[in-house]
Symmetry: D3
Subunit: 189 residues, 6 copies
């Protein structure tokens, strides 16, 4: 179970109201390689992964929930003072029509989140390869978002998140090595 601590993992500041940037950032909220997909992927794999690695999945899965909260805070702060007309002008009229200023788990184009972004195969090393790929894809997405953004405060937080994904990727690569060593003693299939 989880205990909520009322603070963000890393402070989120926003230079100014900027709904169009929010439209792009929401990719990491409800998109294919976003934080929701990441958290759900790792927390789900814990049951069939060997004990040696289960703790790592719990730790990173829990951290991705904190990242999800950071992205939510960014998106909210970037849009909360926008008028309907400003939302419309920034390509967020469709979002406003459905959700007003509320957040929603969709990608930047408005396609609703689907769990089919995520897999689970039961084979531990395979699942870790999936996780490494996921972290690399999240890292790339943060790069594309930084390229799209000119808000220095947002970019600071995006760079923090990008760096975390790089570290997660390394830790998953280490976990593969640990399991491969184990595998040389016994055989998985």
């Amino acid at each position: 179970m989880w205990i909520y601590e009322k603070k963000l993992q890393y402070p989120v500041k926003v230079s100014k109201c900027n709904p169009m940037l929010a439209k792009f950032l929401i990719e990491q909220y409800g998109g294919a390689d976003g934080e929701l997909a990441a958290a759900l992927r790792y927390l789900n794999q814990r049951y069939t992964i060997p004990d040696k690695v289960a703790g790592l999945l719990t730790d990173i899965g829990t951290e991705e929930l904190a990242h999800l909260e950071m992205i939510a805070t960014m998106v909210y702060k970037l849009t909360k003072d926008a008028t309907p007309d400003q939302m419309k002008a920034c390509g967020l009229g469709a979002h406003y029509a459905d959700h007003d200023k509320a957040l929603y788990y969709h990608n930047a184009a408005g396609a609703p989140f689907t769990i089919t972004y995520v897999t689970a195969k039961g084979d531990p090393i395979t699942d870790l390869y999936e996780d490494i790929a996921a972290e690399e894809k999240a890292r790339a997405t943060y790069q594309w978002l930084i390229n799209l953004s000119d808000d220095p405060d947002i970019n600071d937080a995006l760079r923090f998140l990008r760096e975390r994904e790089i570290i997660h990727s390394l830790r998953f690569q280490e976990a593969v090595e640990i399991l491969k060593e184990e595998r040389d003693k016994k055989v998985y299939f």
Copy 2:
């Protein structure tokens, strides 16, 4: 952000290996009215709900993550000792072909989780009505699962979860009253 505590909210025991029961229980893992939908719904609504109610959404959303973990534990324990042939005989051959014994966020019929089960309208009272309906639907689902199950240990945990949904529903109903009182002073739209 969240801190993980390595215990379940309520103990989960399983009388015996029973993959067919697991097949049904997974409805509350990745189905329309399951715990994943619930957690994501409440945690997402926090940003546009008045402060008076935001804490409630965080609390219940966080508790639903713990319920999700309980369901995962049940499903895993009910299937972990099953052979491929037993999985096949219980209607879980399709799940095995894709996931071996790993869990996956789909409903009992195998339809993958989609966020379109969840809404967010930005209007606080509307969002709370959605939440009350969600709790009632989760409560009904737990009842249908109890009707399908003859495992006394599982039923004990399912009854615990059903009772929690009833309490959540009541708390959301109270929150509606609080916000309606507020609304009588100012107007939302």
Copy 3:
């Protein structure tokens, strides 16, 4: 069965060609809380609801079909005289590429309608809570659309539709009371 009467429930006028407004209004045609979802939800629940309430579901479900037709008429009238270039300029180029001026059941962002917006639990009071929430969400959506629109003729029809949703919500709330009274005599589960 149904008999078609060749008139709209309420007259639909359009001040001028306005494809961007059509883009937003289509939310109530094929979106999560739109008229299609509403009609399908109520007509589907009729079989397992007690007789006392089944007629209400038929009546409101049939009325939602009439609302669907009103929205279709608005969307069509707002776009029928637009050139491809005007469609493009209003963010409807993607719609035009697929459908020319034909309507389609998607939300304002272009996500195709999915029945996963709708639930049916079999438990009568639960299904009515779902229906109340649905009406509140439709009401909120009409408000967001009115906020986005500056066409006085369209706004007149949207206000009519918003008022109907409020009345439906009240009638579903009454139905809950009727069934709760019944329940005090016998028990549903």
Copy 4:
């Protein structure tokens, strides 16, 4: 707008409780070539089709709503007296876990209805080709269902529905001829 008349287009009788047959019949309720898809397809195309054919689309679209109601009645009657254990034994345990005895718009395999089964291109003759194909596919589905069924009462109703699809197909083929004649005078694009 529509007026509801409280009778079925054709009487629906059921020889005996038979949930497995219900599981298959639901294909025509919420499946790719089912009655819901058909009704929505025709009613949606009315706005961009020439007036000469619009009435035909309204008529057939309205009749498909009546067929949808017939299928719903069959499915309900085939399952209403089944116990949870009987549902489970017939492969409907997953449906029961989510919906109890309520209907839901999914196909026989449990995949939820999606509007992507339906298209609308705006070009009248193209849309009519789509409609002819739809009727042929519905006809084939009724044949596969008759092959799966050994309930003489159900088969009687299924044969009625199959014949209606054949007639609809012919009427759409006539409409193509009418529009092609028109086209020889003016050009659509």
Copy 5:
């Protein structure tokens, strides 16, 4: 099996960098009536169609793969020199956030490709009606794209593709006649 030949079926030139046109053309890459849907539809039907027609399905299915490659080349050439800011200005910011300049199988509005655009009924004549309708719909889509485009080089290739769809439609109509003749000797159901 297939052998790749490193050339396009028809040369693809692009007058100038034009990301907005790419946004529309992608409809034929991953949209409902696009080349991917077409190729998958025909190649899948080969197994249950009579031998007389199976070769036609293989030929046309294989050609649609070549068309898919032509569309991919157009989309890539139209966007490869665009900056992130140009992508943003043309309504491709959401695509860039997820994919940078990579292609993806979605429609012009960004809805991801789903196989539910495609059917397979097993009845040969029915499947051919589906195929005729598919070709007509692809033809219409090419017309809408030509209407949206002012790039003469692109339009040349789009006209080539539109003509191919017309030829495919005729060949499928001939195949229906062949099978109907056969059917007059034996009966399919």
Copy 6:
């Protein structure tokens, strides 16, 4: 463009009619880690990958089309002589109701293929990590299918396919090394 050669990459024999095995094998036809997803993933990434690696993607993508055809042949041969009653008894009644004996791109549980199983990020090394993970997941799926099957002829073909995935994974790993060497000279972002 592609040229079709009328032979399978590897011979496909089937010991006896076995619809239940077909039900599981279809996972590799239209499932998350199946051959369709694989072919579409690699062929789509070719445009933004460096020339040094593009040929590899074309080769493997084209080979996956051949694998798709092998799986189709297996599924067809395993079901073609089954009666509707045999289909029903093996859990394929739902498939029969929709498709008769025709194939369809869905997974073993009947969930229709969606392109959201596939990603494309534009960053070459990231896309190759995705490809390595995809091959590992396909390999695992073949193992689960072999575990479910007792048809020696099918198992021979499944083992061939499993070995091909291992080779593809190695080739993608080599490609990563080639691109990393390149990257040490210039920088991708």
